[in-house]
Subunit: 365 residues, 2 copies
């Protein structure tokens, strides 16, 4: 049996074809060949990732008439308008047309930047993601969100532009540092809470194997987490409604990241704390204590880093500036059990305030 | 009977509601009020346009919780990434959210820039166009194309992002210089050739009244030209197929603009020459000589400015660099009669070459 899941995400412009699991690159090769035949392809990646996975990329894009590689800096620093502008100018100079293609090879930042560059080049060209991190495989590469950061806010400039293909090969994760796997597992746990109780059980059983980087088990967890995300996104492509479920742990999480200063708290850890805080609000709104205990236990096994010393006032201020806030107020995602959650927009601000101070001062044991 | 046409353009994200004609602003006011109620609205315009039409705008946006006005420079100079970046930063600082609104008030450049800014702000907010020029009323405001220029190419960065509303009030055209009306009429003639033989007859009868700025007759012509564009766009929202009909006169036109140097040949005039050149190619592919004569005659009554002295080689080079070119080659739109045209992708380059030298040296009488 193949260890690759073939998933499809229908969207207004067509369908994203997704291969995810061990050996995905090999299975996707013929579709890629057809898509790239006799066309220019622009590849957005980083020097480091290409030194690890450049060979796989060459095989995947061998049918293109020309493959033009762009190296961008690693991480969030490259997710800015200036980088995008430079790429657009180079693509024009190098003969890029509306039917040229773009492929990203990298983590979430490369996905977001590359998708944005493809989405705005000549009003949108087709592109594909080849995510090389667990986080990008289960999250950033799926759903068509693209964007760059402004000094005033992360991902504040971007658009929805769905990739034609996503090829998420678990074998690429072998070179991933264990800390990157740990960070990504918070999003996998989030997916399980939102929509897959059997994935949740699997995580309960295998979290240590996963943290240790067992590729076979990571592949299985990633396939299921991706499926949860795809199912939610497919019902709400522009994040007006159900898709906001994916913000479980993010309402507080983003604010913790902002309030703790750029880069000192990592996204996965912040989401972990955000999920724990959501449990406090959810318990008062009908979540069974046993379910809350199981969720808390699993999150803690991922060992979210300490957030002691954050000022509740600055966290609250960051929350109300969040770009996901609407003029009509903040939205919370609260678990209602294992494998289900709901969107709640009537949590009084005072409720949040009164829970936040004790939450921030209680250390995670 | 109302002099306002209510038209609808369905698109993947919903429907654009269009009011076009004399008194459109008044008829749109209640829908605008509902759309803006209790929300922040960002208005993108120019100082000059607001000095002419600021009062109408204030009435239209009076229900918003806050109306924040941004002045951008007039014309193409503001259609650059730097202007967009400044607007995004200001919008974030001023509390812009995903359910904030944006309204453009101005000509084609303001439409293109404002639509782009709305399309990429927090991955897309709703917006409306209030076009103040004839060209913007029949062309730029309809169809969801947005974008800014790079030094390497016009409109090379942008996206498809459809406005929620277009309010094209013919009364705003009273302040328009006659030269702007003449330029825009080339696009109106183009629309008639593509899809409305009775509009073509109306233009044959009324072209002098229209050139003289008769608002009642301009309103009628604009309503019909807009209808042609809407019908074509509705069938092909992402310019993969039928929408390319709208490029009638533009394949050569853009190249003439480029080859004659920035700004020395205006877009309408260039399109006029482009239509005349398309007739040469169309006559060899079955267009009846009488139809070609009528089209030629009407275009000449708009008096396209001289293009003598352009080098055929530089025009050909500009054509092959055109962003609408695909890797698979150039596409031509050729009239097949009055009110119909087809897309032709197999015109041999040598054919174009052999017609171009005599075309460029023959003065338009």
């Amino acid at each position: 049996m193949s260890n690759v899941s073939r998933l499809k995400l229908p969207h207004p412009g067509g369908t994203t074809d997704i291969w995810i699991g061990e050996g995905a690159l090999k299975e996707a090769r013929s579709a890629f060949g057809e898509w790239l035949a006799d066309r220019r392809v622009f590849i957005v990646s980083t020097r480091e990732i290409k030194s690890l996975h450049g060979g796989e990329l060459t095989e995947l894009t061998e049918k293109a008439s020309e493959a033009i590689e762009f190296d961008v800096p690693d991480g969030e620093t490259s997710k800015v308008l200036g980088t995008a502008a430079g790429l657009w100018q180079d693509m024009l100079r190098l003969g890029g047309k509306r039917d040229s293609r773009l492929v990203t090879l990298g983590g979430g930042s490369v996905c977001d930047l590359g998708g944005f560059v493809a989405g705005c080049f000549l009003r949108g060209i087709e592109y594909a993601h080849v995510p090389t991190t667990l986080l990008a495989q289960v999250d950033a590469s799926i759903g068509g969100k693209t964007g760059v950061n402004l000094p005033e806010g992360k991902n504040s400039v971007g658009l929805f532009h769905h990739p034609k293909f996503v090829v998420a090969d678990a074998d690429l994760l072998e070179t991933l540092p264990p800390e990157e796997i740990r960070q990504a597992l918070f999003e996998v746990v989030k997916a399980a809470i939102l929509g897959d109780s059997s994935l949740f059980e699997l995580l309960e059983q295998e979290v240590d194997d996963l943290l240790a980087g067992n590729i076979r088990r990571l592949s299985e967890a990633a396939r299921r987490a991706a499926k949860v995300k795809i199912d939610i996104v497919a019902e709400d492509l522009r994040e007006n409604d159900r898709r906001r479920l994916l913000n479980l742990g993010h309402t507080l999480g983003h604010a913790l990241e902002t309030a703790s200063g750029h880069g000192s708290l990592r996204h996965g850890d912040a989401v972990g704390h955000g999920i724990l805080f959501a449990l406090d609000l959810a318990l008062e709104r009908g979540l069974a204590p046993q379910s809350a205990d199981r969720i808390r236990e699993l999150v803690k096994r991922l060992q979210p880093s300490a957030i002691a010393g954050l000022d509740p006032k600055s966290v609250l201020a960051a929350m109300s500036r969040d770009k996901k806030a609407r003029e009509s107020g903040l939205v919370w995602v609260l678990p209602t059990g294992i494998g289900k959650a709901r969107i709640v927009s009537d949590v009084p601000f005072e409720d949040v305030e009164s829970h936040l101070a004790p939450f921030l001062s209680a250390p995670v044991e």
